[in-house]
Amino acid sequence: MDLLEYQGKQLFARHGVPVPSGRPAETVDEAVAAADAIGYPCVVKAQVQIGGRGKLGGIKVADGRDEARQHADAILGMDIRGLRVHEVWIEEASQIEAEYYASVVFDRSAKAPLIMLSTKGGMDIEQVAEEDPGAIASLHVDPLLGFQEFHGRWLAFEAGVDGDLVRPLTGMLAKLYETFVAEDAMLIEVNPLIVTPERELRALDAKVTLDGNALYRHPDNAALRNPSAEDPQEQMAKERGLIYVKLDGDIGILGNGAGLVMSTLDVVAQAGGRPANFLDAGGGSKADAIVAAVEVILSDEKVKAVLFNIFGGITRCDEVAKGLIEAFEQVKPQVPFVVRLDGTNDEEGRRLLADAQLPNLVVEATMLEAAERVVALAASPTLQAR
């Protein structure tokens, strides 16, 4: 789960990481009130998870109330690379003497948290890594030992931080690491981490990704919302307990098991089709889950045909068939369905489907044949499945 900048900063503040003061706002009036409370000059920042939003007009400095209103009005509702701005963050303007970079990353391959520090902040760190890899100091922390002060000193000296900042920076890294562990984060990135003319350190931006599997122990984080990132179909699927990812094609996909669904998307693409979604109905799918899944898939108006690819292990094919028959009764789909059922109780499942004589539904024997068929059906909507 990715947080918005201000949500990340509020998380930082809870763990003592210094951040500029600010307030979120969803309307122009709220934004002006927030700006008045913070004082001028202040910064109006679009809350969308996209790099380079400043260059795209999503960050503006306001010297007074009129400007604050003008900027908030322009930014709220703005479209930044396909993401609509639902909220702005009004923040006190900061004086910047230097821009650093700091991050804590869940390094899967090393099986340890990785801390990175650089004095070349303010730009894309991947670009720094490419052009000047020596400018980034990094080290892994033993997850059972945790962050130690010597880690911070080593990073600061290695990165070439000014001597007077080594100690405060070590303290800040310790707090970022604490945030990373305490909040079950997968990523914490501060870019830029600024040095003010008073030689104080502040997180001027915050990029935080939390582990969705750990949200049960962080109810406050679980309640955080990011309306701009939530697609209506994804929202609907989440409410029904389905694992759904919206894609941009026109062939609806349902399978059981993440790997098989990914593979199905690939095979459909190889057959020349464009998948509309990823939907993992999961292990042991019961009939009502299938009905819910069909509703979610068909709520995407772009869908011209649907492919069911099931290999039953825990999932029983007769349950899937029953769900499909139920879904046809309730939803009455207007697009063709192609179904491939293999595995546990597959013969029973195919027999149920044959007996039900569902309109515009065809059963194929293999994954490949099913993919080719659904692509053909999506390409010529007038073609009937049977």
Binding site: S109, N213, A214, V245, M262, I314
Partner: protein, 291 residues
Amino acid sequence: MSILVDRETRLCVAGITGREGTFHALNNKRYGTNVVSGVTPGKAGQQVEGIPVFNSFRQAVEETDANAAMVFVPARFAADSILEAAEAGIRTIIAITEGIPAHDELRVSTHLSRLDEVRLIGPNCPGVLSPGKANVGIIPADFFKEGNVGVVSRSGTLTYQIGNELAQAGFGNSSIVGIGGDPVPGLSFIDVLELFEADAETKLVVMSGEIGGSAEEEAAEYIADNVSKPVVAYIAGFTAPPGKTMGHAGAIVSGSKGTAAAKAEALEAAGVRVGRTPTEVSEIVIEILDG
């Protein structure tokens, strides 16, 4: 021969009194797996169709000589259960549970790596099946028979898909190992490849990977230097967009890292043949073993 589980396996199931735990423990027992005990705190003295239940792994090991554990408890208790099994001296731990927090997995994995020879399979995996010998987990064993193809996979259903195509062509398996779809799996592709390389029965290994992380790239490097048996690979997720988690917590392309194309390329550079579809994988296997 086979790897990880066989006729010597004496299995203790954590969460055996839960609905899923009971169902699969009995399923494994029916297949012929020697399920010797179960653990559910507070339910010592009960039996699940004749299998004795204990309060702790320590008791279960003392009373029933269990040498393998299957963890079937809910996500918030699973890390604890894995650590408890290891503490009791069990050296093969198969964790089926899905949804364990990544930081918990990290602590578990770091601790286990410091113990002597503990093998954790999973979590969030379908388990291990050695056809004709033992089945530990949720793999539908009926689709597979004894043979000489080893399979290692990050995905359960995809394993069944590939295994089924091989079975229809007349090929069986030495062992099928699901390493799971989480960010910090226990055994990696490399660990399992090493076991298959040393297993006399295994003639060829099918490795099924997916987007996210760098385990496939690392395996490619390992294969080039250490594996003499033919390896055929499949990678799922060529069409997955960056930044979206595709069902498995570990299946996410971040930026240019972890893409299916990069993984396939690394494997091919290491001399591994990569099938573009599960069907093509089985065709390549048939070609190698028949030829």
